[in-house]
């Protein structure tokens, strides 16, 4: 009996055990991502229990001992929509549940790059615009920043002219500087890069573009920080906005490749309509006779005889404008494992402009890598090398197309047709270029001018996480730039009139400068989760930046042995420098290099607070010291504070059917602009050797100013972000007020002091405005999606004060715009033109008392126009129709005026310039109602003292425009195989850019960013055109392949 009981007990126990074991069910499965690739790291758990697992590298998961019956499995991974699946766990065996995750498109956009970090978009309390990589590469621009046009509210981008390699002018929320550079701070992967537009001055009518060597295909995103809450962390350099450029990093798993190629051609958006030979001779003769002279007009410019003039009809515009060809190739590779992420690219972009002989070629290489040494330690490095080769032509005032629109007359021939002698000497042979007057073809062909920029922007950083939530990061960035400007001039270009018998020989010249720009910073961040609801993030850091530029003196070599430029004949650089006159060899203009060095030392900190994922606040502080600031003002302090409230999380809005998101944010801060010249605080004397009578001289060149400092901007920003209908429509409305004080002015004292200028921080400028953006998915059907993005920004700009200085004392800018207190920066200050008197045929101006007068007097000038627009913006429409997508990007500018400074002479006094066909509408006899006055060669007959002092509203035009920036049609091919090769997809795009413009402007192109003399000119005189080449329109075909 006892033994039977024990046996029963044992078997019962055994039964229980086995049944329990049999009742422990497993749930297994594989989780894939949206492309069908296994996804590691996905959390799979059973709702209502603590049981779960994470998928391994193969996407597999296994949950053991799952409770039997109906269960809900939850799959979650950041960036993907959380998936729930109801399953029925059977009493026996295991159950397999596979899942394909779908990308949460909303949350993928959620991260935004901010200063020294990354933040979720929801938590951002400052004003930040983000432009993604696709938008930057869609438009075939030579330099990526042109792709920002019309994409971000309040960011005005004016493309550089049609010259290849020219720079765009970018202004964030108006213009707040006059003599200091008004550009935003450009930061590439953490290093504020060298961004001097005037590194090469204004040679050839073009400024340097510091962004031209950055390959647009390498850019992941561009964040534009607009208000002080966002830029405050950049302290003395954030006042005019900060543009953060982040290059691509590796992602995903395994290898991914992408190949892009594009081909196209470009034309000018407009062609100037100049007179031909017969027309010019006719009008010149008419002016001559109107002035009471008899006989044929004499002398003709360049002493051309009438016989020669009648036989010559050169179309210089045709000689300088052609068709530009473009091609680009870009190959990028992406490699990812759990530990290593790598992105690498190789690119070549040959951008020919419509100006004959002009192109910009960029070759670039980049590798970005991140390596997780351990869970706590991560290293990343970005290396980039690029070379930009700009085949230059003269433009604007320097020649080329500019000469074709001015001094190159149709009566000038291009070549000599006969041998010309002077006694026994031969002056010219047939086929030699005729050079007694302007000859842009000769200037181009007898010259070989090339600027080569070698650029390398690199950084290395280490991030260490000693304990959970504490991050220590060390960063070193290095930006290297070397520019060689090589020019070769044939001896027939140098000899006066192109004569063969004179003594100049071929000349090779080189200007070289090199900039080494280092940045190092260290930050410590700590995420402090107080509890479920409250969380702080603290960040503190320091930074040191130093930039050294060496300008080598011009080197040159003139002689028979010089056959071409230095870059093609490097043997010409051999041997030392010679000094003696008449000695053959290499020369340099000075013995020593010129050096520009500046540095910054900074400390900064930031605190972020989040509560309940709906209340956010941020405070930041930065202290900056710079060598640019005078010793009396060495350090500046820049605080900011901001807050955000996600109202849509509140009970009164939660569950609202229309409003899916609403956030109110406000910020205040103080930032600065440190883009001021180096060394001004010290002043200096200059000593030169053997200057007069063989003796040395010494003189005070720049007077010292120890009070020199940054400009200070105080910014207040308030914005409301909303999303409607499940974020199908999102809008942002912001208001801002920016007051800039200590505005740096380059002042001209009375010339009787003997000094030409000195710097003082003395002005005050106000910018305030409203920005509105809306993104809307208008239609979202099975095979048809239509999305519109629209933004518009209105900016009010006023110069509030310039201290005790007179308005004329502020130098820089041409005499067509000037500083007027109470008006915007860059006010057109002109004499009103009332028309041509039908009785006398003379110009009628309005004097300061409102009366009509025939005499132009500078005292009658008044503020009549503005170069800054009132509103700018853009609209992008994207249509996805099955596999096709169509995109239209339009940009517009309203409320500005354009002053065509060259038409003063093209349509004004008859001089040695060619004229435009509009001038046919001139007064000829009493009673004529004409646009233009009675022709005369005498400036006094127009009431002027000088043909260039024709500063009147006759040349002021409405600058409003709406331009179709890009129209593109793309055919997308989804993943496909060719044999054993798997391709991730491909696309073919045909696009046209700048081909359609709506404007009232009568000149060539209403979008103007011409060559500038200096920073003051760049701030005060955009929208002033002087022989500026028009923009280019281009037509392209692009092909993209992913594998």
């Amino acid at each position: 009996m006892k033994m039977q009981m024990t046996r029963l007990l044992w078997s019962l126990t055994f039964f229980l055990i086995t049944s329990v074991a049999l009742q422990a069910q497993n749930i297994t499965g594989v989780v894939n991502d949206e492309n069908g690739i296994p996804m590691p790291g996905v959390t799979v758990r059973i709702d209502g229990t603590t049981q779960g697992d994470a998928t391994d590298l193969d996407g597999k998961y296994e949950i053991k001992n799952a409770p039997v019956g109906e269960q809900v499995l939850i799959f979650s991974f950041i960036g993907y929509t959380e998936a729930k699946e109801t399953i029925n766990v059977p009493p026996t065996g295991s159950i397999s549940v596979n899942r394909d995750m779908t990308v949460d498109s909303k949350s993928l956009e959620e991260f935004v790059v901010v200063g020294y970090g990354v933040q979720r978009k929801r938590e951002v309390t400052g004003s930040i615009e983000k432009v993604g990589s696709k938008e930057l590469t869609d438009i075939p621009t030579p330099s990526f920043e042109a792709g920002l046009q019309g994409k971000a509210a309040g960011v005005q981008v004016t493309q550089g002219s049609g010259l290849a390699g020219s720079a765009s002018v970018i202004r964030v929320r108006g213009v707040a500087s006059i003599s200091a550079a008004g550009d935003p701070l450009y930061v590439v992967d953490g290093i504020p890069i060298t961004q001097d537009y005037f590194l090469n001055g204004n040679r050839g009518g073009m400024n340097n573009n510091p962004l031209a060597t950055i390959n647009p295909n390498d850019i992941e995103s561009v964040e534009i920080l607009k208000d002080a809450a966002a830029t405050g962390i950049y302290g003395s350099r954030g006042a005019n906005g900060v543009i953060l450029i982040t290059t691509k990093s590796g992602s995903g798993t395994g290898w991914d490749f992408s190949l892009n190629t594009r081909h196209g051609f470009s034309l000018p958006t407009a062609r100037p309509n100049m007179l031909n030979s017969a027309q010019w001779l006719q009008l010149n003769q008419e002016a001559w006779e109107n002035d009471g002279n008899v006989g044929l007009a004499a002398p003709l410019p360049a002493n051309v005889t009438w016989e020669q003039a009648r036989q010559t009809d050169t179309d210089w515009v045709d000689e300088t404008i052609g068709v530009g060809f473009k091609q680009s190739y870009n190959f990028s590779a992406n490699y990812g494992t759990k530990k290593l992420k790598l992105f690498s690219s190789l690119g070549y972009d040959d951008n020919g402009s419509y100006l004959i002989g002009n192109s910009y070629e960029r070759s670039s290489f980049r590798t970005n890598g991140t390596y997780k040494i351990s869970d706590k330690l991560e290293v990343s490095a970005n290396i980039s090398l690029s070379q930009g080769i700009n085949n230059r032509v003269d433009a604007a005032w320097s020649g080329g197309l500019g000469a074709a629109m001015s001094e190159a007359l149709p009566i000038f021939p291009i070549f000599h047709t006969d041998t010309v002698r002077n006694g026994s000497e031969i002056l010219h042979l047939p086929g030699d270029y005729w050079r007694y007057g302007s000859n842009p073809t000769a200037q181009r062909e007898l010259q070989d001018w090339r600027t080569r920029e070698f650029r390398s922007i690199n950084n290395v950083s280490i991030q260490y996480r000693p304990i959970k939530n504490l991050f220590v990061k060390a960063y070193v960035g290095y930006d290297f730039m070397n520019v060689d400007d090589d020019k070769f001039s044939d001896r027939l270009l140098l000899n006066q009139n192109g004569q063969r018998n004179l003594f100049r020989q071929n000349l090779a010249e080189r200007w070289e400068n090199t900039t080494n720009n280092w940045n190092t910073n260290g930050t410590v961040s700590y995420i402090h989760d107080l509890d479920d609801r409250n969380s702080f993030t603290y960040m503190a850091g320091f930074e040191y930046q130093e930039s050294r530029t060496i300008f080598k003196p011009r080197i040159s070599r003139e002689g028979e042995e010089v056959e071409g430029p230095f870059y093609e004949n490097s043997d010409l650089l051999d041997g030392g420098f010679v000094d003696e006159e008449g000695e053959a060899g290499l020369r340099r203009d000075a013995e020593n290099d010129d050096r520009q060095i500046y540095n910054f030392i900074s400390g900064f900190g930031r605190i972020n607070y989040a509560r309940d994922n709906k209340y956010f606040a941020q405070a930041s502080f930065r202290a900056d010291g710079s060598s640019r600031f005078g010793e009396n003002n060495r350090f500046g302090f820049f605080p900011s504070a901001s807050a955000g409230w996600v109202m849509s999380e509140e009970n009164f809005l939660k569950g609202n059917e229309s409003i899916s998101f609403m956030k109110l944010r406000a910020g205040w801060g103080i930032t600065g602009n440190a883009n001021i010249p180096n060394y001004q605080q010290y002043g200096f004397y200059t000593r030169l050797n053997e200057v007069y009578n063989g003796d040395d001289i010494l003189f005070l060149a720049v007077p010292p100013n120890p009070d020199m400092q940054w400009e200070t901007a105080q910014v207040i920003d308030i914005a409301l972000e909303t999303g409607f209908f499940d974020d199908r429509i999102t809008t942002t409305l912001s208001f801002y007020n920016k007051t800039t004080t200590d505005v740096l002015l380059n002042l001209t004292p009375q010339p009787s002091t003997g000094f030409t200028g000195f710097w003082d921080n003395v002005g005050e400028i106000v910018n305030r405005g409203i920005e509105f953006e809306v993104s809307s998915v208008n239609m979202d059907r099975e095979n048809f999606t239509w999305r519109t993005d629209f933004n518009i920004a209105y900016n009010y700009n006023e110069i509030v004060s310039i201290g005790n200085y007179s308005e004329d004392a502020i130098s820089g800018g041409t005499n067509d715009t000037r500083v007027v207190v109470g008006k915007p920066v860059g006010t057109n200050f002109l004499v009103p033109f009332l028309g041509v008197d039908p009785v006398t045929g003379r110009n009628i101006y309005q004097d300061i008392n409102g009366n009509q007068t025939n005499v132009w007097d500078p005292a009658d000038r008044r503020a009549v126009g503005r170069v800054l627009p009132l509103a700018v913006g853009g609209m992008t429409n994207t249509f996805d129709i099955g596999r096709w997508s169509v995109g239209v990007v339009m940009v517009f500018s309203l409320g500005s005026d354009i002053y065509d400074s060259s038409s003063k002479r093209q349509n004004g006094v008859v001089t040695n310039w060619n004229m435009r066909t509009e001038v046919f509408d001139r007064w000829r006899q009493e009673g004529d109602e004409a646009e233009y006055a009675r022709l005369s060669q005498r400036t006094e007959n127009y009431g002027l003292d000088n043909p260039f002092n024709n500063n009147t509203t006759q040349w002021l035009d409405d600058g409003d425009y709406l331009r179709v920036r890009r129209l593109s049609v793309t055919y997308n091919i989804p993943a496909f195989n060719v044999g054993t090769a798997d391709f991730g997809g491909a696309s073919i795009t045909a696009s046209a850019s700048n081909f359609l413009t709506f404007t009232n402007f009568d000149g060539l192109d209403p979008e103007i960013a011409r060559d500038f003399e200096n920073a003051t000119d760049m701030n005060m005189s955009p929208n002033i055109t002087y022989l500026t080449p028009p923009q280019e329109m281009s037509f392209n075909l692009a092909f993209n392949l992913r594998f």
Partner: protein
């Protein structure tokens, strides 16, 4: 609550350590401009007497860049010598007697002329800063040269930009700014009388203390000759006579036998003060004649930017085509128009006389006639010049020439001897302001446009511009 406190503590800690860090790095931020090459920091610039002397030479350098024709051309354009300029807009404005505040050439000459006083003042202000022991350099000599330059520049500025001396009885009509300090500050517009007082005071010091005989740089004869010119302009003919006489008799300079005194490589023997084009150690020439050569010479049979009126040409040729001086002028025909040019400035290099014996002789002659003394000597002075000009005696003044004849002859010869240095303009102003009626190319000698306009930035509430409205 504790976390608030810890935040506050953290912030304080952070701020303090930040400030400590930053202040210790202050030295790093001292990035001074490099001093190799041509630049010198102000604190290191002036240490030896040679440094001060180099500043003085820089003042002469300014004169070399301004009196190379640039300054002289402007006032010459206002006279009756020059015809409408050919394809030079700024010059045309001056010729039209309608210069505006924007005229680039006028503005740059104005600024350059004032750089002379700036550099001179810098010399004077720094004389005491260095130690002269063991040096040949004499500070008083340097001050004298500096003041000579200051006087010369102010003299040409006030003659070009203000109505002449004597235009009002007390000379309290508006003049120009007087600069006796290198400070960058606004100066009121002084009266013409005050400007001349300053000029004479500077010349007096210079005359007294220019003890070193030297070439190229100022000597006591330059100061005396300059004073002769100033007194002459002021209608003080007795003083002008005495000074000119002193220069002619006692100085080492003699009237040149050549009609063209723009010479090279030698300096004309009659040039008392001149702008010098030196040969550098590398055998290149430091040519200082651009303003003249660039505008008066274009090549054979070419119309030049600055060409002469038909009236002037006829005056040169009044005694026939031949003779050294008339031969300096040619006519060029183009289509049906005639242009009149000179070959005075054809040579590639030439020095530029500023104060000459010829001018001293003419001053002596005209002053003598004005005060009624020494008419024989005056007539001889004129005849020396005429004989040199025509190569014979046929056009000399006769023995019985009256004072008025001599005055008229002196004025004519002065116009013919100095076609390009602005002397004619100064004469017209001098003659007009002493009460004679002077009409220049159809307008009175003192209409608004007959003086140059200041550049825009010279105007302040203490410095009104010249009246506009041309003539």
């Amino acid at each position: 609550m504790t976390f608030q406190k810890s935040i506050t503590n953290l912030t304080y800690l952070g701020a303090v350590s930040l400030l400590l860090l930053l202040s210790s790095c202050k030295d790093l931020l001292e990035q001074k401009p490099p001093e190799d090459g041509n630049n010198v920091l102000p604190e290191n610039a002036i240490e030896t007497p040679e440094d001060v002397q180099q500043i003085l030479v820089s003042a002469y350098d300014v004169l070399g860049n301004t009196y190379n024709g640039n300054a002289q051309n402007l006032v010459n354009l206002l006279s009756d010598n020059i015809n409408r300029p050919f394809q030079q807009d700024d010059y045309t404005s001056v010729w039209l007697r309608n210069t505006s505040i924007f005229n680039g050439n006028v503005g740059s000459v104005f600024a350059d002329l004032y750089r002379g006083p700036l550099r001179a003042n810098t010399v004077i202000e720094n004389l005491d800063r260095v130690d002269y022991a063991g040096s040949d350099i004499n500070p008083t000599q340097m001050e004298a040269e500096a003041r000579f330059i200051r006087a010369l520049c102010h003299f040409d500025i006030v003659r070009g930009w203000a109505q002449p001396y004597g235009w009002t009885p007390n000379n309290d009509h508006p003049g120009v700014a007087i600069r006796t300090s290198s400070a960058i500050e606004n100066q009121a517009r002084a009266t013409v009388g005050d400007v001349y007082d300053q000029i004479l005071s500077d010349i007096a010091f210079a005359k007294e203390n220019l003890t070193t005989p030297q070439a190229v740089y100022a000597t006591e004869w330059a100061a005396i000759a300059l004073e002769a010119e100033v007194r002459f302009q002021m209608h003080e003919y007795d003083l002008a006579y005495a000074l000119a006489d002193q220069v002619i008799n006692e100085s080492p300079f003699n009237m040149d036998s050549t009609v063209n005194r723009y010479q090279y490589p030698q300096v004309s023997p009659e040039a008392i003060f001149y702008i010098f084009s030196a040969t550098r150690s590398d055998q290149t020439i430091d040519s200082r004649n651009g303003g003249f050569r660039g505008n008066y010479f274009s090549g054979p049979d070419q119309v030049t930017t600055l060409n002469f009126t038909e009236e002037y040409y006829n005056k040169q040729k009044v005694n026939g085509d031949l003779g050294p001086r008339p031969l300096l002028y040619q006519s060029v025909s183009l289509e049906e128009s005639e242009f009149y040019v000179t070959n005075l400035f054809e040579a590639e290099f030439f020095h530029i006389p500023i104060l000459t014996i010829t001018q001293m002789k003419l001053i002596r002659a005209e002053s003598a006639a004005e005060i009624g003394l020494n008419l024989t000597q005056a007539r001889d002075d004129i005849n020396d010049i005429r004989e040199r000009a025509y190569g014979n005696e046929f056009f000399n003044l006769i023995l019985s020439a009256s004072a008025d004849d001599i005055i008229e002859a002196a004025r004519l010869e002065r116009q013919l001897e100095f076609p390009a240095n602005g002397q004619r303009y100064h004469d017209l102003k001098r003659i007009g302001s002493q009460g004679e009626e002077v009409i220049v190319r159809g307008v009175p000698y003192d209409c608004n446009g007959m003086i140059l306009q200041f550049p825009a930035t010279e105007q302040t509430n203490l410095f009104p511009l010249n009246p506009g409205g041309g003539c």
